[in-house]
C-alpha cells in the first residue's frame, strides 16, 4: 500500500494518470518488466484498475449495473456472464453498497457514489489499483472499512492511493510518495518520516505526538 501525498496541483493526479495510461509521457515506465508503451489498452485494463478523481455518468443506470461494467475486460465483450454477476454482488457486499443496488447511480449521495465506484474498480480484479482520492466524501466509519479492505488485499495487490489526511495515511500506510510543485520529492517508509521534511513539503508546521503507542499528527500555520 502506497500513499501519494502533496498539496493541490503538486502533480499527484498527473502521476496517477500517467501510470494508468491516461496521459502521454516521456521516460521509462515498466509494468512487470515490460515497457508500458508495448502494452495494449486491453492488457492495461486487465492489469491496472484506475479510479479517477471525478467520475461522471450520463445515463440513468442503477448502481448494480455501474459495478457490473467493471467486469467488461473479463467478459466476452457482448454479455456479462453469471460469474460476472457473482463477482459484482461480492464486490458490492464488500464495500457495503449491496443495499443500494437498485437505486439510480446519479441519485446516490457523494459518499455512496464513491463507494459504488470503489466496488466497480475492485470488480476489475486487477493486480494494480491506482485510486485518486478514494476516501473523498466517505464517512469515517466507511473510511476505516475501506482501508481494512485495502489491507486485506495488499499481500497480492499493489494499491496506490492519493490521500490528504496525513494522520490517517501515517496510521494505515507503510510507504509514502511526497509531491511538491510537480516533482516527486521523497519516497519514504513509515520510519523515515520526519516532521521537518513534512513541514517543508506541505508549507505548514507538522508535529508528531505519540499516545498509546499510536502516532498522531498535528498541523498549524507557520
Amino acid at each position: 500500500m502506497v500513499a501519494v501525498l502533496g498539496n493541490n496541483g503538486s502533480g499527484k493526479s498527473t502521476f496517477l494518470n500517467v501510470l494508468s495510461g491516461q496521459m502521454d509521457f516521456t521516460g521509462d515506465y515498466r509494468v512487470g518488466n515490460r515497457k508500458f508503451q508495448e502494452i495494449s489498452q486491453q492488457e492495461c485494463a486487465r492489469r491496472i484498475g484506475f479510479l479517477p478523481q471525478e467520475a461522471a455518468l450520463n445515463m440513468p443506470f442503477d448502481a448494480f449495473y455501474v459495478v457490473l461494467t467493471g467486469r467488461f475486460i473479463h467478459s466476452d465483450g457482448r454479455m456479462y456472464s453469471e460469474q460476472d454477476v457473482i463477482y459484482t454482488e461480492k464486490a458490492m457486499k464488500t464495500f457495503d453498497v449491496f443495499h443500494l443496488k437498485d437505486r439510480l447511480f446519479n441519485a446516490l449521495s457523494g459518499g455512496e457514489k464513491q463507494r459504488v465506484l470503489l466496488a466497480r474498480v475492485m470488480n476489475m480484479d486487477t493486480d494494480i489499483f491506482l485510486l485518486d482520492e478514494p476516501f473523498s466524501g466517505i464517512d469515517i466509519l466507511h473510511q476505516i472499512k475501506v482501508v481494512d479492505i485495502f489491507k486485506r488485499l495488499q499481500r497480492e495487490k499493489i494499491i496506490m492511493v492519493v490521500i490528504h489526511d496525513l494522520s490517517f495515511a501515517i496510521h494505515h500506510f507503510s510507504r509514502f510518495l511526497f509531491f511538491r510543485e510537480g516533482l516527486l520529492l521523497y519516497d519514504m517508509g513509515r520510519n523515515e518520516l520526519d516532521p521537518e521534511k513534512l513541514s517543508d513539503i506541505f508549507g505548514v508546521r507538522v508535529g508528531f505526538v505519540e499516545q498509546n503507542k499510536r502516532m498522531f499528527v498535528y498541523t498549524e500555520e507557520i
Binding site: 494518470n17 484498475g49 484506475f50 461522471a56 455518468l57 450520463n58 445515463m59 443506470f61 461494467t69 465483450g77
Partner: protein, 316 residues
Amino acid sequence: MRLILLAALLTAFIAAISAGAVKIDLFNMSEIERNIFLDVRLPRVVLAGLVGAALALSGVLFQYVMKNPLADSFTTGVSASSAMGAVIAIMLGLMPYIPLFALAGGLAGLCLVSRIASHRGRIQPITMLLAGIVLSTFASATISFMKFLSDDAVSSIIFWLMGGFQAATASKDMILFAVICLSFLMIRDDYLKLDILCFDDTTASSTGVDVNRLRKKLFFAAALLTAFSVGYAGIIGFVGLIIPHILRLGNFVKASYLLPASLIGGAAFMIATDLIARTILQEGQELPVGVITSSIGGVFFLYLLIKRRKELFYFN
C-alpha cells in the same frame, strides 16, 4: 415494454396501409386498386418506417458519441450538409444519385465538424455541437444560394426540402433496409462498450474501451443512416431526438434495449406521422411530414429545455 412497441408498430402499419386518399378494401382489390396499393401505398409506408428507424438510430448513436441528449443528425449539422449534397445533385439533374451526394455531403460535414472538435485525438462534445450549428447555418445558406441560382430546379428543391415519402419506390425501400442492416451489424457487438461510453472518457478508457475508435465507428454508422434518410425523404427533423428520449424515460437505458427499441419506436412514430400527414387534409391533399415532426419536435425541444434542465445538466 418491447411488446408494446411492437404492437404500436404493427397497429401503425396496418392503419397506414388501409387508409389513404383512395379507399382500398385490402381483401378485395380491383386491378387499379392493387396497383395503387403495391406501387404507391405499400412502398411509401415501408419507406416511412425505415426512415423513422434510421433517424432514431442515428440520433441514439450521435447521443452516445457526444454524451449529450440534444445531439442528433440535426444538431450536429450532418442533416444539413447531407441536404446540401442532395441539392447539388438535384441542381445537376442527377436525381438517381441523390443518396450518394447526400452521403458525400454528410461525411464531408462530419469530418469537418469532428476535425474542428478534436483536440489531441479526443472529440470535445461542446465544440462539436457549436461546430454543428455553424455547419448547419452554412449549409442552409448555400442551399438558399443554389435555389436563387437555379430557376428551373427551385420548385423540386423546395418540395424535397420539406421532407416526405411521396417518391417512395420498392428499390429505395430495399436499399435503405440494407443500409440499416449494415449499420446495425456494425454496432451490434458493441452494446457493452456503448454503455461504458456513458461514463466519463477516463473511466471508459481505463475500463478497456478504445473510446476514440468506437466513436469513429459510431460516427460513420450515424452519418450513413442520416445521409440515406435525407437522400430519400428530405430533411425530417427531431425524430432522432424525440424517440430516444421517450424510450429512456420508458426505462430503455442499456444499449442492448435502447438500440433495437429505437428502431421499432422510430418506425412506428414515422409511419403514424406520415399517416396523419396524408389523411388530415380533405380531398387527397397532403401536408409535408417534416412540418408535423418539426412542430412536434419544436415543442418537445422546449419541454426538454424547460422541464428537464437537471437531466441535461447531468449529461455534461
